[in-house]
């Protein structure tokens, strides 16, 4: 029997009850969230379960929502079951003042650099990561540039006299 979104949802609710929530299917991709302490348990279950077999981590990143109190940072996992060819999106939200999330490196070796990148740009602290340091930015950087409080330079600024570049 081919796996579909409905089955995955049922299996998850059977296992985790109301701890998995906010099920949605934007553009057909099953999306749900779990408390951040649960992220490894959920992923381990998705990985090991004989029916689900989400054993390929496609993508890992974060999103910053400065207006959502106590859940400013979302860490987003895109998982793929290559056997049944179905994808899901899994989110955990965290407080930006305590951005501790368990690392997925034990499950997926590929998570190593993706988590480093997420740390580098959003400051998500992946607990248990073997080598959590900046990857694309310089080591000396003391802020996390993808956060929304760091805007890009204002394109309409006039204090710069830059005749050569047409400002």
């Amino acid at each position: 029997m081919a796996l579909n979104n409905e089955t995955i949802k049922t299996r998850l609710i059977e296992k985790f009850g109301d701890q998995v929530s906010n099920f949605d299917e934007p553009y057909g991709l099953l999306t749900f969230e779990a408390p951040k302490e649960m992220n490894l348990k959920v992923m381990q279950f998705l990985f090991d379960d004989e029916q689900l077999r989400f054993q390929f981590l496609t993508d890992l990143t974060a999103v910053h929502y400065p207006d959502k109190k106590d859940r400013e940072l979302a860490v987003v996992y895109h998982l793929h079951n290559l056997v049944d060819n179905i994808r899901i999106r899994f989110k955990v939200f965290t407080d930006i003042n305590k951005p501790d999330i368990y690392t997925a490196t034990q499950l997926y070796s590929s998570a190593n650099w993706m988590e480093r990148e997420t740390f580098d740009f959003f400051g998500v602290n992946f607990v248990g990561h073997p080598n959590l340091k900046r990857i694309l930015n310089v080591d000396e950087m003391n802020y996390f540039p993808m956060l929304k409080q760091y805007p890009l330079e204002d394109q309409t600024r006039v204090d710069k006299d830059d005749a050569m570049f047409g400002r």
Partner: protein, 410 residues
């Protein structure tokens, strides 16, 4: 005497007792084909450890994208994997079309397939011939370069540029393919098979090449999956995962083609898989071109979908019609509101699954855009691939992985 030395030269702690040598390969080593740094730990000529440093050409694309209207982000995607920028461009257009719910006409899909497969050929061509260069065979590289040139000329006929193409628009192409483009395409389809055959003859059963590549940097299917390998590198390890088949886009489902796979995941298998994929791409282009020619009447003129909010109207219309002028202004000034939504779209890039994760909150620019860059993800495996091999293998493994610094560093 020894006292004077220790007085003047401050050696790091423990460097006398150390039995291994640290070697910095890169960031600007001629053999690394890009800005890569590898800190190798060597015991004689054998590698005992490697640590990669990336990020030398980080250009903050994801941050920049948060302030750009959709059509301006295409130019950012050019600069990811610049060996096959049309695939990136198309991937981005497909992402936008998915978000906006745009349905593209079949002719557009087929034209896109022609372009994407051409760029896959040029990507694989560079990668494979560079593997040749790194094993000491320069001829192949020099020889196939003229056919990459021909591919670039085809791009040029279609969009006006060669490397960073910015080809296509949301909904289709900016203009129809010219006759010159089709003529060049025909020339390519006619001449290239012989060249590819000759290129294969030069390498595939070449004793020296085989000895250099067989067993260099192997990876098992299981490890490759765990490391997030995609594209030819994963298929060389024996997993038949291809985005074009698993989640077809741009009407790939209308075509019949094979996915070549390897077995051992070493440099030789990666080389063979890429070569076979070029044959498959040729087949796809031929089929797509035939389908394009079959369109009759008005259908044969179609080269874009009707998306006035995102597709620039023609210049004569802008000068003579009020609506067209308004659309033009809104698009150019980036004043079109993007419908809210969250979408993940991936395409089979030259070196793996290139994914776009786009979140829109209803503003004029994306709220968040993340690129899933295949070689950033699989480059992590490099230290595992090279551990225990010789120093010269480090180079060939790197080139056969098809690492593109622009894509890795975003």
């Amino acid at each position: 005497m020894s006292e004077t030395i220790s007085h003047h030269i401050k050696l790091p702690e423990g460097s006398i007792e150390k039995t291994t040598t640290t070697l910095n390969l890169g960031p600007t080593h001629p053999a690394t084909h890009g800005v890569f740094q590898n800190i190798l730990e060597l015991d004689g000529e054998r590698i005992v450890g490697a640590e990669q440093t990336v990020g030398y050409i980080h250009r903050a694309f994801e941050k920049l994208a948060e302030r750009r209207p959709l059509y301006q982000i295409t130019t950012l995607t050019d600069r990811l994997n610049y060996c096959s920028s049309p695939i990136n461009n198309m991937g981005w257009h497909l992402t936008c079309e998915k978000l906006l719910g745009v349905k593209t006409p079949k002719r557009v899909d087929y034209l896109r397939i022609i372009i994407m497969e051409l760029s896959r050929i040029s990507d694989h061509l560079i990668c494979n011939s560079v593997v040749g260069v790194d094993s000491g065979a320069y001829t192949g590289f020099l020889y196939v370069m003229q056919y990459r040139e021909l591919i670039y000329e085809i791009y040029e006929e279609i969009c006006g540029s060669r490397l960073t193409t910015n080809i296509g628009r949301i909904g289709g192409f900016e203009r129809d393919f010219t006759n010159a483009a089709f003529e060049k395409l025909e020339k390519f389809l006619k001449e290239y098979p012989d060249v590819l055959k000759e290129f294969e003859n030069l390498f595939s059963r070449n004793r020296i090449f085989m000895e250099r590549t067989i067993g260099a940097g192997p990876i098992s299917a299981e490890r490759a999956l765990n490391y997030g390998f995609t594209g030819p590198n994963l298929r060389a390890a024996g997993v038949d995962y291809d985005v074009r088949v698993h989640t077809p886009y741009s009407s790939y489902e209308d075509f019949d083609f094979e996915i070549p796979i390897g077995k051992t995941g070493d440099c030789y298998d990666r080389f063979l898989v890429r070569n076979q994929e070029m044959w498959q791409s040729l087949k796809l282009i031929n089929e797509a071109y035939k389908k394009v020619q079959e369109f009759k009447g008005a259908e044969a003129e179609v080269f874009h979908a009707d998306v006035p909010d995102y597709y620039l109207p023609t210049k004569p219309d802008v000068y003579t019609k009020m609506e067209a002028l308004i659309w033009h202004f809104k698009i150019v000034m980036g004043e079109t509101e993007i419908p809210p939504g969250e979408v993940y779209q991936s395409v089979e890039g030259g070196n793996g699954e290139l994914g776009f994760y786009l979140i829109s909150d209803g503003g004029r620019t994306p709220y968040r855009l993340h690129f899933r860059r295949p070689c950033f993800i699989y480059y992590q495996a490099y230290s595992e691939l090279t551990k225990g091999s010789m120093l010269s293998d480090a180079i060939i493994v790197m080139s056969s992985l098809n690492l593109i610094a622009g894509e890795m560093d975003a």
